[in-house]
């Protein structure tokens, strides 16, 4: 680890191991996410991408190893203290995980009501602004319920909700999986432009290298519980690693 503060990672995962019911999923993952970058974690289905991501905001606790956010070791924090971290590290779930019993407006305003003292009018403005940021600014979906939305809309609303507290980092779990190519392009573009606009750090977990290339600055390949490869887009393209080549073929 470099001593220079500029190279200090915002999120660091060191020697992370995790198993469920005796099944070893992660076997010593080392990963650093630098401030402002978008790191794409690639990996096949069931390799533990979601499990890895869930350690970065403390939803899961390591069996071994440690997870750091902004110099703070998450292992040591209790659920309450983790709350403070989670306000800064937002997560967009694979299927959105919107609250079914709340309207779109109430979903997006939920974190604001929970954690800020904004007035009703301020909340309204902020929700409008967030909905515009995810291209749903025409005010037509705010009164709908999650069950009435398409998959792509759900992901966008989930993104708006995740951005509500202006986090320093956003963790995306498969932001484009299960969407048609057009919607995929749209979401990819949105992730890119929001990241530029707000300058937050992102970790994107996906098995789709094509959309990974479109959003990522740096890439890491998760295989058999370890990071098998990490590098820039050019390094990915130049790699002779068979698994990487295989991912590249699918991305063509």
């Amino acid at each position: 680890m470099s001593a220079s503060p500029a190279a200090e990672p915002l999120i660091a995962v060191r020697g992370l191991a995790k198993s469920f019911n005796g099944k070893q999923v992660l076997r010593g993952v080392d990963l650093e996410v630098m401030t402002g970058e978008t790191l794409v974690v690639l990996g096949g289905s069931g390799e533990g991408k979601t499990v890895l991501l869930r350690h970065m905001n403390g939803l899961l606790r390591p069996d071994r190893g440690s997870v750091w956010f902004s110099g703070q070791k998450l292992n040591d924090l209790d659920e309450n203290a983790l709350g403070e971290v989670r306000k800064q590290v937002a997560m967009v779930f694979q299927l959105g995980a919107l609250f079914d019993s709340l309207s779109v407006f109430d979903n997006v305003s939920y974190p604001l009501r929970e954690h800020t003292k904004l007035s009703e009018a301020q909340i309204r403005d902020r929700v409008r602004e967030l909905m515009r940021a995810v291209d749903l600014g025409d005010g037509r979906v705010e009164s709908l319920y999650p069950a009435e939305l398409s998959g792509g809309m759900r992901k966008r609303v989930a993104l708006a909700r995740a951005l509500a507290l202006r986090p320093r980092a956003v963790l995306y779990d498969e932001p484009t999986t299960g969407l048609d190519p057009l919607v995929t392009d749209r979401i990819v573009g949105m992730i890119r432009s929001l990241q530029k606009q707000f300058g937050y750090t992102s970790v994107v977990v996906t098995h789709d290298l094509k959309s990974g290339f479109a959003v990522g600055d740096r890439f890491a390949l998760l295989d058999q519980g370890r990071i098998r490869f990490a590098g820039s887009a050019d390094e990915v393209r130049a790699s002779s690693d068979e698994l990487i080549r295989e991912f590249l073929r699918t991305a063509l």
Partner: protein, 251 residues
């Protein structure tokens, strides 16, 4: 068999941990009054119909059976005493708990279970909000508070059912029925029933919340969790009723 017994103890342990988390969050500010009121309504007020229906018919059946049996000894006049005792001490709290375990327990598990399997519980945590405080505490509190209230109502409705039968079938007068009831009823009958009700309400809701929060595997898993919550609640009520009865009789 040993594995399933092991699993049972493990689960009891998990429920105990949840109970501890609930107590901790009970005292943590701010107190979520609005969420509690919502649950008092959905758990308590909306259970009135099933509870009343169960109580009135149970009271009538009890009076019929007792009237028939006591009639053989020419002791029909004791019907109201026996009814008071068995309703207040046993049938009121237990039948109410079984109905609440089925209606409310299943409802809680299904609701929390579907939130769990669709990652809504994780989403709450990821949004730095506390699902124990937001979801579990109001339900446990509401169920624990509402059970004795519903039980008192069930007691009264059950006795009313008994009164109808006593007058219509057994040839007793209403005045006799309730004067003899009031003469013989002691406060400890009512209180021991209410003590049970409080305990049952707490146990039912904790179990139901636990089953919901640990549901896995989609809609299927929610169904399984719901069934097992209702069964576990009923068994817990009936088993703990025995021990509570021992306890209350010996004090």
């Amino acid at each position: 068999m040993p594995a399933s017994i092991n699993g049972m103890f493990e689960e009891v342990g998990e429920v105990a941990f949840l109970a501890r988390d609930v107590s901790r969050n009970l005292v943590r500010r701010p107190f979520e009054a609005r969420l509690l009121v919502e649950q008092l309504d959905s758990i308590g007020v909306r259970s009135l119909n099933v509870v009343n229906l169960t109580a009135v018919f149970s009271g009538m059946v009890l009076a019929l059976q007792m009237g028939q049996f006591l009639g053989k000894f020419g002791a029909k006049i004791y019907v109201s005493r026996i009814m008071g005792l068995s309703l207040l001490r046993e049938m009121g709290p237990v039948l109410t708990a079984l109905m609440i375990g089925a209606r409310v327990g299943a409802g809680i598990t299904a609701e929390l279970g579907s939130m769990t399997v669709t990652e809504q519980i994780d989403a709450m945590r990821a949004l730095a909000s506390n699902p124990i405080k937001k979801l579990v505490v109001p339900r446990v509190l509401a169920c624990t508070l509402m059970m004795p209230v519903l039980t008192v109502i069930a007691d009264a409705v059950g006795l009313f059912g008994g009164l109808i039968i006593a007058v219509a079938e057994l040839g007793l007068t209403a005045r006799y029925f309730y004067t003899s009831l009031l003469q013989n009823m002691v406060l400890s009958d009512l209180l021991s029933g209410l003590g049970k009700a409080v305990f049952f309400g707490y146990v039912i809701s904790i179990i139901a919340c636990h089953k919901g929060l640990t549901a896995t595997g989609g809609a299927d898993g929610v169904g399984r969790a719901t069934t097992s919550a209702v069964v576990a609640a009923a068994i817990s009520v009936l088993v703990s009723d025995f021990f509570l009865t021992k306890l209350f009789l010996s004090t």
